[in-house]
Amino acid sequence: MSDASVDPRFRRKPPRRPLRLSWSDERVRGIVYQVVVVALIGSVIYWLWSNTVHNLEVRRIATGFGFLQREAGLPIAEHLIPYDPTDTYLRALTVGVLNTLKVAVVGIVLATILGTIIGIARLSKNFLVSKIAAFYVEVIRDLPLLLQLLFWYTIMQGLPGPRQALNPVEGVFLSNRGLKLPWIIWEGAHTAALLACIAGIVLTWLYARQARAKQMADGQPRKIWPLAIALVIGLPILTWQAMGGPWDVDWPALRGFNFQGGTNMSPEFAALLIGLVTYTAGFIAEVVRAGILSVNSGQWEAAQALGLRHGSVLRLIVMPQALRVIIPPLTSNYLNLTKNSSLAVAIGYQDIVSIANTTLNQTGQAIEGIAIIMAVYLTISLSISLFMNWYNARIALVER
């Protein structure tokens, strides 16, 4: 309940009564309860802790994070940063964290898009479309994700081998080794162009903010898009040109057992991504549908009466209101997707759980291994929560 709705006369605190040492005093009872509960939980934790210390000693299990500096010796198939089995456990675990983040970020973006489409499709006037969407949502949500991931991975393996790879476009190969695409050979100019693009986005955003503020002041709408294009697209191209404009493409080709060169999307990553996206999209679709339905139909009718087109009604009137209902459950779906990515361990995508697990096995240090997994997920979860809470606060209804 917001303070503003309370009559200011009642906001004065009641006078403090002196604390009476009696069971009938609510505050004394409160303190006693708290002391008892804290002592209880503290003693249980202490008991478990002392057992653990004793057991570790008796069983001569090493403790501490010293192993992080030792050579890992475990092979990792996909890494965003350079990695070799001679590197340390610390680096191996970092690779795992990055792999988790990779699938989580890409998954969240794709699941949001797919979920929104299906959510809107469920409200479609076309009977067949809405029924297909409903069937999809129902089936996807009623099967364990693990089962779905195993299913997708089985499908991925049904693709032809590298020597019979599908080659729809020059340089693009699809086989059970993954999707091979040509890729430019990365140089300093590309990094500079990327940085310029980011700078352009930030500048555009700042300009848009200012333009809106001015519009609020004088009511004159200002065009943003010409400057946006200049900053976001023109600036990087100019930077790239200024640095010599290197353009060398690395074409994938079948050499020996595998394709060499180019960039690759592995079947493990693809199966995990498809599984996570289709599964989470089923839940997001329901959230989106509920959000749209939560907007009073009077809003639709009023907007239509003003002569807005269907798309504009959805974009300008309904969605901003629906978002307030959508964002909180959407956040928990994002968190679920991230946490569910830990199932990667079952289909051979080496995320943090998979690598920490192997580490745990090789070093025998279970507590440290699981502590690392938990710390990583807690950090990711809290970051997503904080970001979404900030966003939610931004779009929340401002009440007087």
Binding site: V36, L40, S43, V44, W47, R59, R60, I61, A62, G73, L74, P75, I76, A77, P85, T86, L150, Y153, T154, M156, Q157, G158, G161, N176, R177, R255, G256, F257, N258, Q260, P267, E268, V345, A346, I347, G348, Q350, S354, N357, T358, L360, N361, Q362, G364, A366
Partner: protein, 365 residues
């Protein structure tokens, strides 16, 4: 919102009942708190009797044996849910020695991750599953390996159509491997020693890793040669797959027990040697009855309990070995029953005395 039935009750009836109920609740709460507080005290009493492992097993009435979660030929439940396989039979042999009853054993499926904790914490009495004897496991994990009942080594399997004849031809190949075991480290050690680059596909569960290899996701599949042979023979056309001659590691597998209880370790060790010895002497499930009565060889008489007190030294019945053989057969029979049908030849696990293999039992005297 209509109030629930309980809400109506509270409005309608006098507050006395409510207060009384609450007093009861408080009492119950206090009891619960006392119970929780005394829990540590209760739990301090060890659940298992603090004597030796054998005493604990006897008191419990069953042996608890850790096995694989499902590995064809070694430990795997059949259609009726009964555990079958080489490792499972070793558990049964120990159970017969202790109880004269092959059914007095509980099988606990353990994964590569939780097998060691399960043994350390006393959740299982022994591990009879594919665990490689290494120095660190023997010492720093606090275990005793009681012998080697299966000599294995890591190898590679490829499809015949690939035209690969030796492991060194695998440079640049994609290789399927299971994580979390010595297999993964052996593979990287080997690739570094031989300067071979490979692309790993690391999949945890056996079924999936085999499926990935069969589907062509990988060019080669690496694991223990026994596992390769089992996988190969399970394929619709085994001849399409080749197990490369290179063996890149030593994998001596055997049952293991907790360090510090020599009596139980001795028992498990001599159950294994007894099974080997029986094969050496040609004693099988079919002829053990007759051999117990008529065999004139002194060592056989001691082993089968007609003479001497070997059983007593181990703390079991004199006829322990005779019963094990009657129930399960000797080492060769157990091997032939479980491993040969799935395509694992005797190889190095043949007897040293007759076939020049590595299996060899110390004398029974």
């Amino acid at each position: 919102m209509r109030p629930g039935p309980a809400g109506q009750g509270a409005n309608g009836r006098d507050a006395v009942t409510a207060t009384r109920r609450l007093n009861f609740l408080r009492l119950a709460g206090a009891t619960a708190i006392t119970a929780v507080l005394s829990l540590p005290a209760l739990a301090q009493q060890p659940a298992a009797p603090s004597g030796t492992t054998i005493d604990a097993i006897r008191a419990r009435g069953t042996l608890i044996c850790g096995v694989n979660t499902g590995l064809a030929g070694f430990a795997q439940p059949d259609s009726q849910g009964v555990w079958r396989g080489f490792d499972a039979d070793y558990c049964r042999a120990v159970a017969i020695a202790l109880f004269n009853d092959a059914s007095k054993v509980r099988f606990v499926p353990t994964t590569a991750q939780n097998r060691f904790t399960a043994l350390q914490s006393g959740e299982v009495d022994m591990l009879s599953r594919n665990t490689t004897w290494t120095l660190s496991r023997d010492t720093s994990l606090g275990f005793d390996f009681t012998g080697i009942n299966f000599y294995d080594g890591q190898g590679f399997m490829v499809k015949r159509s690939l035209g690969v004849n030796a492991a060194r031809d695998l440079n640049g190949a994609t290789i399927c491997v299971q994580p979390g075991t010595t297999t993964e480290q052996n593979l990287t050690d080997w690739s570094r020693a031989n300067n071979i680059r490979f692309q790993p596909v690391v999949i945890e569960r056996l079924e999936e890793v085999v499926a990935a290899y069969v589907a062509g996701r990988c060019d080669a599949y690496t694991t223990d040669v026994s596992g390769l042979a089992a996988t190969r023979s399970a394929q619709p056309r085994p001849a399409d797959h080749v197990i490369l001659p290179d063996v890149i590691s030593k994998e001596p597998l055997g049952p293991l027990v907790r360090h510090g209880d020599q009596r139980f370790a001795d028992l498990v060790r001599w159950v294994h040697f007894g099974l080997i010895g029986a094969e050496e002497f040609g004693i099988t499930a079919a002829n053990v009855e007759e051999a117990t009565r008529t065999d004139a060889r002194p060592e056989v008489q001691r082993m089968l309990g007609r003479n001497g007190d070997l059983g007593q030294m181990l703390g079991v019945d004199p006829a322990w070995m005779a019963r094990i053989i009657r129930g399960l057969g000797n080492y060769g029979e157990i091997y032939a029953r479980n491993l040969e049908p799935i395509g694992i030849p005797r190889g190095r696990n043949a007897l040293w005395t007759t076939a020049g293999g590595l299996q060899y039992a110390p004398p029974f005297r």
